[in-house]
């Protein structure tokens, strides 16, 4: 392969502080253009699987919550199937979107994802990955969208054999990808962009 055979990807630029205008216009106060914001409903009454909510905040290197971020998630359905043309193992739940888009609150930085616990998806070599949710984070000051994953701390056995978590060194950084039960039926997942306990971000 030579450089001439393939083109360069368009270079990324920050989504900026006003990303909500284009991505979540109704949420940011621009009503009437889109009937609803894209990605605002992952589940409906007929969606199969265990309902889970994941709440958290994103912190910068000074420990301040990021008040202007947008998080997109992409995950398999309860059976581990993606609603995508590249899914060849079966047909995903038609009542599950798989993709969601959530803003952190302007005042507190809190985000909340209402979804279902995903099933297991194979790694390229056939091993099963633990249930996980892919996350893509954009905001002012983030030059290239950050890719990470949410795993569930209560999936102890599956997490122990997950081929992606197995790549993480030092091992204590695995904890940065584990959503912890909050004691009230939900999960807590904070993201740290920089510094102590910095979240593991992936180059995928």
């Amino acid at each position: 392969m030579t450089d001439n055979d393939i083109r360069h990807e368009s270079p990324s630029q920050t989504a900026g502080p006003y990303v909500h205008i284009g991505c979540l216009p109704n949420w940011s106060g621009i009503a009437g253009i889109y009937a609803e914001d894209p990605g605002s409903r992952l589940v409906n009454a007929d969606t199969r699987g265990e309902r889970v909510s994941i709440a958290g905040r994103i912190f910068d290197g000074d420990g301040a919550p990021v008040l202007d971020a947008v998080i997109e998630i992409w995950q398999a359905d309860a059976a581990g199937l993606y609603p995508s043309p590249v899914e060849t193992r079966g047909v995903a739940d038609p009542n599950f979107a798989g993709w969601g888009r959530i803003a952190t609150a302007f005042d507190s930085g809190e985000f909340r994802i209402d979804t279902i616990r995903p099933g297991r998806v194979p790694y390229p070599d056939g091993r099963l990955q633990a249930p996980h949710i892919n996350c893509w984070i954009v905001a002012r000051g983030i030059n290239v969208g950050l890719q990470t994953r949410v795993y569930f701390a209560d999936e102890v056995a599956a997490n122990a054999e997950d081929p992606v978590l197995a790549l993480i060194e030092p091992r204590e950084r695995v904890d940065t990808l584990l959503a912890q039960a909050d004691g009230e039926g939900g999960f807590r997942f904070d993201i740290r962009l920089q510094g102590e306990r910095e979240t593991v971000f992936f180059d995928i």
Partner: protein, 244 residues
């Protein structure tokens, strides 16, 4: 690269994109990870992605001149048509993919709760639009020329006129947000966000060209802006006999 067919997507060229930390872009200082990214082979989780249908696209979603305007009115500012193709790194069209745009108005003011610039809002301009690419990867939308505006970075920082673009492609690994600039804007080389991109030839790919062939006489100028999303490693090898 080995002769074995790799799966997944071509690796992202991190020397082509801006680094996480670009100190002249002040916000990146505390929002840039300092640990290296963990390289991960793409799995089905990254090789799949959401599909959007025409059912979500309203008739005026691609017309920012009118999609927030009162009936019989239109947004203020020079009318423009922005168009181009979305292709992947192999040159393959990316069809039926969602393109979302957002921008400031013709005075450089955003319609947003956190916006503080003194320039006026335009009551007939919302600032967002979207469309799906067609079978050839072609997109087109109508808007007004956004203005440059000042921002709190350095003592006298101004953004060049720009339009934000969000693209999906077919896989979560292709997800991209970037910005389109306008050919000839003297603020482009002064902008710390632009200059976070390390290479001049990479910056050049984000500068739309005036396209007089597509301009609508007595109506609007046109700007051409093509975009490239990550390519599939397998597609590249499958296509090889055609090219070589």
């Amino acid at each position: 690269m080995s002769s074995e067919q790799p799966r997944g997507y071509l690796p992202r060229d991190r020397g082509w994109h801006p680094p996480a930390l670009a100190p002249d872009y002040r916000s990146s200082r505390v929002r840039s990870p300092r640990q290296p990214l963990l390289a991960l082979p793409t799995t089905l989780s990254e090789e799949s992605g959401p599909v959007f249908g025409h059912d979500i696209i309203g008739p005026r979603d691609d017309d920012l001149i009118h999609n927030y305007a009162t009936e019989g009115h239109s947004a203020l500012g020079p009318r423009i048509l922005v168009h181009g193709h979305v292709r992947d790194q192999s040159g393959r069209a990316v069809p039926n993919t969602l393109v979302e745009v957002w921008q400031a108005n013709a005075a450089g003011r955003y319609r947003h709760p956190n916006e503080t610039y003194i320039a006026p809002l335009d009551p007939n301009f919302g600032g967002c639009g979207r469309c799906l690419t067609d079978a050839d990867g072609y997109y087109r939308f109508l808007s007004i020329q956004p203005a440059p505006y000042p921002w709190p970075n350095g003592p006298n920082s101004w953004r060049p006129a720009h339009i934000h673009f969000s693209l999906f492609g077919e896989a979560f690994a292709q997800r991209l947000i970037t910005q389109m600039y306008f050919e000839g804007d003297p603020l482009i080389p002064l902008c710390p966000i632009v200059n976070a991109i390390p290479r001049a030839d990479a910056i050049d790919t984000l500068i739309a060209r005036l396209d007089m062939d597509a301009a609508l006489p007595m109506d609007m100028l046109a700007w051409r802006f093509d975009l490239t999303l990550r390519g599939r490693a397998q597609t590249y090898f499958e296509n090889r006999p055609e090219g070589l």
